[in-house]
Amino acid sequence: MSRIGVFTCHCGENIAGTVDCPKVAELTRQIPGVVHSVDYKYMCSDPGQTLIKEAIKEHKLDGVVVAACSPRMHEPTFRKAAAEAGVNPYLCEMANLREHCSWVHEKNEATTQKAADLVRIMVEKVKHDTPLTPIKVPVTKTALVVGGGIAGIQTALDIANAGHQVVLVEKSPSIGGHMSQLSETFPTLDCSQCILTPRMVEAAQHPNIKLMTYSEVEKVDGFIGNFKVTVRKKAKKVDEKACTGCGLCVTKCPNKKIPDEFNEGLAFRPAIYVPFPQAVPNKPTIDTANCTYFKNGKCGVCSKVCPTGAIRYDQEDELITMDIGAIVMATGFKLMQTDKFPEYGYGKYKDVIDGMQFERLASASGPTAGVIKRPSDGKEPETVVFIACSGSRDRAKGVPYCSKICCMYTAKHTMLYKHKVHHGQAYVFYMDIRSAGKDYDEFVRRAIEEDEAKYIRGRVSRIYEEDGKLIVKGADTLMNGEPVEIKADMVVLATAVQSQDRSEDLAQTLHISYDKYGFFAEAHPKLRPVETNTAGIFLAGACQAPRDIPETVAQGSAAGAKVAALFSQDELTREPIVAVVNRQAPPLFSTCTGCFLCQTACPYQAIEQEEIKDRSGRVIKTVAKVNPGLCQGCGTCVAFCRTKAIDLAGFSNEQLFAELMTL
């Protein structure tokens, strides 16, 4: 039989004003198992706490109910006091006589009766409480950052600068992401390469950062602080250590007509290539799908010319497994393809390009050295039409959301265009101008007022080619929908920002949630924007939703800070309110039937499958097992389990039923 003490607080007049506290103490003293019950003016005061501690010792109490204010207020206070007196803190509970009783009811018998009932409920709970100890898990202080765009670079640098190890995994041959392709950036029009390249180099040279380019995450096991990650290092067919980056192979490769991804198909590259001059690492990769040697065994020129013998045609993919404490996803976005636009020609008009292609045309390092030339015939376009919301905010054929960055980059494009083609005229068809950011709307106004971009509010219905011009048929909704037709030399579509290809697969590999568009889901849209629902996995940049660079960098740093905070501890301490699947000897018997309903219900992927084997190693059955590192203690699994094999510590079935028995 338990020895429980009940301590009823007056809270000055706050409780005692409506509740007859001495009577509550008296009524509750009669509850079986209660061996001590007193009331006092201010329980949370020092003398109040001392009173409790002494009572624990004097009456050898093994459970405590403090009938006072809300547990949200003082539960930690009294649990600490109980612990100091030698009672497991989880055997101390509070009955909420103030917020839930004295403050909300009149002074009368019913109110006092309710107060006594509230105490009764908690006494029964305490009787069924079990001592719990906070869960401790060790932390491996190495972070994995997936994706080497500006988000990933920023995160990696911040974590590395906090003194922790980082592995930065990038799937393409160089880090840099989309930002490396941009010409100049809003809202300040500074050169993208100029601000990005130093960071890329810093990341590559940082002693705490291990760069793995041309690599992808293959498998993730484990949980916060203790992930085991397998990365596939794809074969570049070039020995990175031996290669000096002299570039001879690249110049000599005879196979030069491969559409250049970095230049968005506006230029060509050879089969052995460095994606762009400032690439990090600045060493080539063989594109085996397009290399003659890999297609028919002929050629081999690169190998012949390489002065250091760095070409390795027989190099294989490598699988590397490592221990990781935290993961940051920074895999970015992709743009909707122009062939997704039937009314704009299914991508067949060469001079209908997307925003990224325009960036390349405007970039000093681009295929035209920054001179604006249209792709079809290299002429300077004198009229350029920009179409905002191409595929965005289009639930019929595109995506319903706003891509957020295109209003701004379109304004930027009109400016860059005007700065380069002084006599040119830019038109923008738009629906709304979304430029909510520091200096953003001013920037758009500048495009309109100083660089004379003509903004027309309406969507374009159709584009077709006639007499060497692109006929753009729009309407002006500020003029009652009056049809507007513009004969353009080039059209730039601000195509929708979408999640990366196969982002759902990646999310499943990592057990993180994603939204219906394939963007990774944050744990809470306002209060936990860089965390995922899976403890220890964080998000940065455009893999979560469309973002511009300032936001991406802010989020990268935020994710970095979260990781650094996590790594500031050697062990993680967590509330022991977690689910457990019952296990009873001999040997490891469980009532779990292995239905795994709990697994489907758990929002945190905390439930794993475990095989129970007999002595000879034969699998008797497969049962559920909760990973206490991942479980957040919501209890959803408990409600789902039909055999009551899984239960939640601190809010067990037994406890809740006991509470109900007092009614």
Binding site: E343, R393, D394, R395, A396, K397, G398, M431, R457, G458, R459, V460, S461, R462, K473, G474, A475, D476, T477, N480, G481, E482, P483, V484
Partner: protein, 190 residues
């Protein structure tokens, strides 16, 4: 203030009728103008398609009436260019059908609708009577209804010579059943 009550929206708006008849909510339209931009006849219309929708969005008699009195609604060809491209999946031709029907019912259809209606009525007459279209009958009937007598007669001989005009109607066996279909649908609505 006096006009406020006059403008107060009520449940029996044209938008509500559109919703009931077609399931389309006028609120879907975000006034991007893409419909007007692609419509082959919007230049001829006094109200462009998106403008018609805008008027209905107010949900007020005054604007509903403006839409119904418009000539433009009678020009819609039901070519579906607008609905094929509308990003918000608004089926404008169906809405036009409802607006026209309401305009007729309330007797406020634009005078220019006369010829167009005359044609459709003449066409349906032919179908109601014979079960099929009787082209010469249609032309004659249309001319009677619209008063434009000479417009197409010039073509008729050419068509006749090329075997394109039958002088006698094709009567189908089930004409009585077809007549009853007309009665149950068109007829029942007065």
């Amino acid at each position: 203030m006096s006009s406020a009550s006059h403008h107060a929206p009520h449940a029996d708006t044209l938008a509500a009728r559109v919703k009931a008849a077609t399931g389309i909510s006028l609120a879907q339209c975000y006034q991007c103008g893409k419909c007007a931009a692609g419509c082959p006849v919007s230049e001829e219309m006094d109200l462009t398609p998106c403008q018609v929708l805008r008027l209905l969005q107010y949900g007020q008699d005054k604007y509903d009436e403006r839409a119904m009195r418009s000539a433009g609604i009678w020009l819609c060809l039901s070519c579906e260019t607008c609905s094929t491209r509308c990003p918000q999946e608004v089926e404008i031709p169906k809405i036009m059908d409802v607006v026209r029907a309401e305009a007729l019912k309330r007797g406020i259809a634009h005078p220019k609708s006369k010829d167009i209606l005359a044609f459709h009525r003449a066409f349906l007459d032919s179908v109601e009577q014979t079960g099929r279209l009787y082209e010469i009958g249609l032309v004659a009937n249309y001319k009677l209804r619209s008063g434009h007598f000479l417009k197409d007669v010039m073509l008729a001989p050419k068509m006749y010579v090329r075997g394109k005009l039958g002088l006698l109607p094709h009567m189908i066996k089930g004409t009585a059943a077809v007549k009853r279909i007309f009665k149950r649908t068109l007829g029942s609505k007065g």
